[in-house]
């Protein structure tokens, strides 16, 4: 379990992270979502004890990272792709990390095989592609077989095969009861892996919510209804408090009443229905809706906000 309590990080006048509190529970994949530059990486670095918070606190199973007895065996992290000396081989990189926490060498070989770097493990890492760098980073994170795992944008640079592999890996790790915290700026990616998401914008918490809740809360969710007697149905629905919009194609978009309520109402009038289709917003839309106000770098607005940024 990871707990952030009022985490705050200021770089001079810039407020990278502001009073951020959330909990990442064991046994689930928790997505960490936010636009680029919203403070995700900074938050992860504070959890890992790399950056010192201006104020606030982050703990792992109630302990500060600095106090862990075997950090690598307790927490694994992929924080940036290719954080490795270009002249060092993947094997040497993992071996030097293994030594710090007295992890046996056999484990290094196991991980090299597992992430698919067997053929290139002795080559200089400077020649690695971004995807190979990510695989090496994932191997480093899993090296100590830790209970808690942090991944910062793990699918960046991976081919479709690699992306699928990472998704399954994350879910598998969570199924084993581990704590998995994974950042992304892509909601669509999180939709496929995460059980829950922590959403931030401009360094502040926007929401911590399960994927299912996020979808149902979105105003982009509605029910499409077609009926030969749509004006009559529209009136009846509006009397029930639903918001109904008549679309150009003759259908009705209904918000504030679900398909069950609409169906029953239609039967009671009675009105014939030709279509009754719940339209779920895509997660991308739900996410955009939530973060609309907090995106830092709107390309089109950049010139207007000069000197007037928060």
């Amino acid at each position: 379990m990871i707990e952030a309590k009022s985490l705050t990080k200021h770089y001079g006048a810039k407020h990278a992270v502001e009073q951020l509190s959330f909990t990442v529970r064991s046994g689930a994949v928790t997505g960490f979502l936010g636009p680029n530059g919203s403070g995700k990486s900074t938050t992860m670095r504070m959890i890992m004890g790399l950056d010192t918070p201006t104020s606030g606190d982050a703990t792992i199973h109630g302990q500060h990272f600095h106090d862990l007895r075997w950090p690598l065996r307790e927490v694994g992290a992929l924080l940036e792709a290719k954080a490795i000396h270009p002249g060092r081989s993947a094997r040497a990189h993992l071996t030097m990390l293994a030594h710090t926490n007295r992890i046996p060498r056999s484990r290094v070989e196991t991980l090299i095989d597992m992430v698919g770097l067997t053929d290139v493990a002795s080559k200089r890492a400077g020649k690695f592609s971004l995807g190979m760098g990510q695989r090496l980073g994932i191997a480093a994170a899993l090296l100590g077989d830790p209970e808690t795992l942090l991944f910062d944008e793990p699918v960046n640079g991976l081919d479709p095969d690699g992306i699928r592999w990472v998704r399954n890996l994350l879910k598998g790790l969570a199924r084993e009861g581990r704590t998995v915290f994974v950042s992304s700026h892509l909601m669509s990616e999180m939709a496929l892996t995460a059980d829950e998401v922590v959403i931030i914008g401009k360094g502040k918490l926007i929401s911590q919510i399960s994927i299912d809740e996020l979808l149902s809360q979105s105003s982009e969710s509605f029910v499409r209804v077609r009926s030969p007697e749509s004006p009559k149905l529209k009136l009846a629905l509006e009397q029930q408090g639903a918001v109904v919009v008549a679309e150009d194609d003759g259908s009705l978009s209904v918000r504030g009443a679900d398909e069950v309520a609409i169906g029953e109402l239609a039967a009671s009038i009675p009105v014939v229905l030709h279509e009754l289709a719940p339209q779920t917003a895509s997660l991308e839309e739900a996410f955009m809706e939530l973060t609309e106000d907090s995106i830092e770098y709107h390309g089109s607005q950049a010139s207007n906000t000069t000197g007037a940024s928060s």
């Binding site: 790399l50 924080l79 940036e80 040497a92 990189h93 007295r102 053929d119």
Partner: protein, 275 residues
């Protein structure tokens, strides 16, 4: 290249072992790091080649142009060790790289994620580097001495290890280069950039003496003896005793203090700064 991967997750088998990670684990880690990059072998190779090569050139040249009577006060020991003053730069570059390359490549974040006690990490790093630098420097010093004395055959005067001050100069020469390397290491801990650290190191060795020389004479003479290159001259010669200088071992203690203070400042900054 095969990118076949298994989605099977490795079972958690072991509980956490008793105790905690420590200095010895970090020594092994730093040793692996040092061995596994080419720059180490390059800088060590250059140190050995320059150190021994220049000593050989200088002693051979001295022997070739030897005129008896014109070489009063000739110090065969110092003459054979003169290459150390050149190879000090190569060993210094390695000292800087050991730290600065971790920052420039981002490896430092992997290191601190595995071992968050930064002072202990730095101590292990300094120990491993210091040990390697010492072995290399002493090797260069002894080989330079024996080759040089062999080349300084009659009629030139030569020394043996039992000549007065010779053993001290050879051992001291190696120690001097090793501690200079640790000074470069200290600069890199503070500055964190390879170029910056090397500039500071070279500045202290080459530019600072010129600045001191430009000072008024009375002040210059007082300050001069604190300069590393001055201390080095005292340590590498057998007939030193120049006016207003430290004796070899006092000078060496001063030099060690420089290295210690720089590394201590670096450690304090490392603990305060974000990695």
């Amino acid at each position: 290249m095969s990118v076949e991967t298994s989605s099977a997750v490795l079972e958690r088998t072991t509980e956490l072992p008793p105790g905690r990670y420590g200095f010895v684990d970090l020594l092994r880690s730093e040793w692996t790091k040092l061995r596994s990059v080419r720059s180490t072998w390059w800088t060590v190779g250059v140190t050995v080649l320059l150190g021994i090569g220049i000593g050989v050139l200088v002693t051979a040249e001295t022997r070739a142009h030897w005129h008896s009577g014109s070489n009063q006060g000739f110090d065969p020991t110092a003459s054979s060790l003169v290459g150390l003053f050149i190879c000090q730069f190569a060993i210094g570059i390695l000292g800087a790289l050991v730290v600065s390359a971790e920052y420039s490549t981002g490896t430092i974040r992997a290191t601190f994620s595995a071992a968050p006690h930064r002072t202990v990490v730095l101590a292990a790093k300094a120990t491993v580097y210091g040990f390697v630098a010492l072995v290399v420097s002493e090797f260069v010093a002894f080989v330079s001495f024996f080759l040089g004395q062999f080349l300084l055959s009659a009629p030139a005067t030569h020394a043996t290890l039992s000549s007065p001050g010779a053993l001290r100069a050879v051992v001291g020469g190696g120690l001097f280069i090793c501690v200079l390397g640790l000074i470069a290491f200290g600069f890199a801990t503070i500055i964190r950039h390879t170029a910056g650290a090397i500039s500071a190191f070279v500045g202290v060795l080459l530019v600072l003496p010129l600045v001191v020389q430009a000072l008024p004479n009375s002040l210059s003479l007082e300050v001069r003896k604190f300069l590393p290159d001055r201390i080095g001259v005292q340590m590498l010669t057998t007939n030193g005793n120049h006016f207003n200088t430290f004796t070899p071992w006092v000078g060496f203690a001063v030099l060690c203090m420089y290295a210690f203070v720089l590394i201590a400042i670096g450690a304090a900054l490392m603990n305060r700064r974000d990695a």
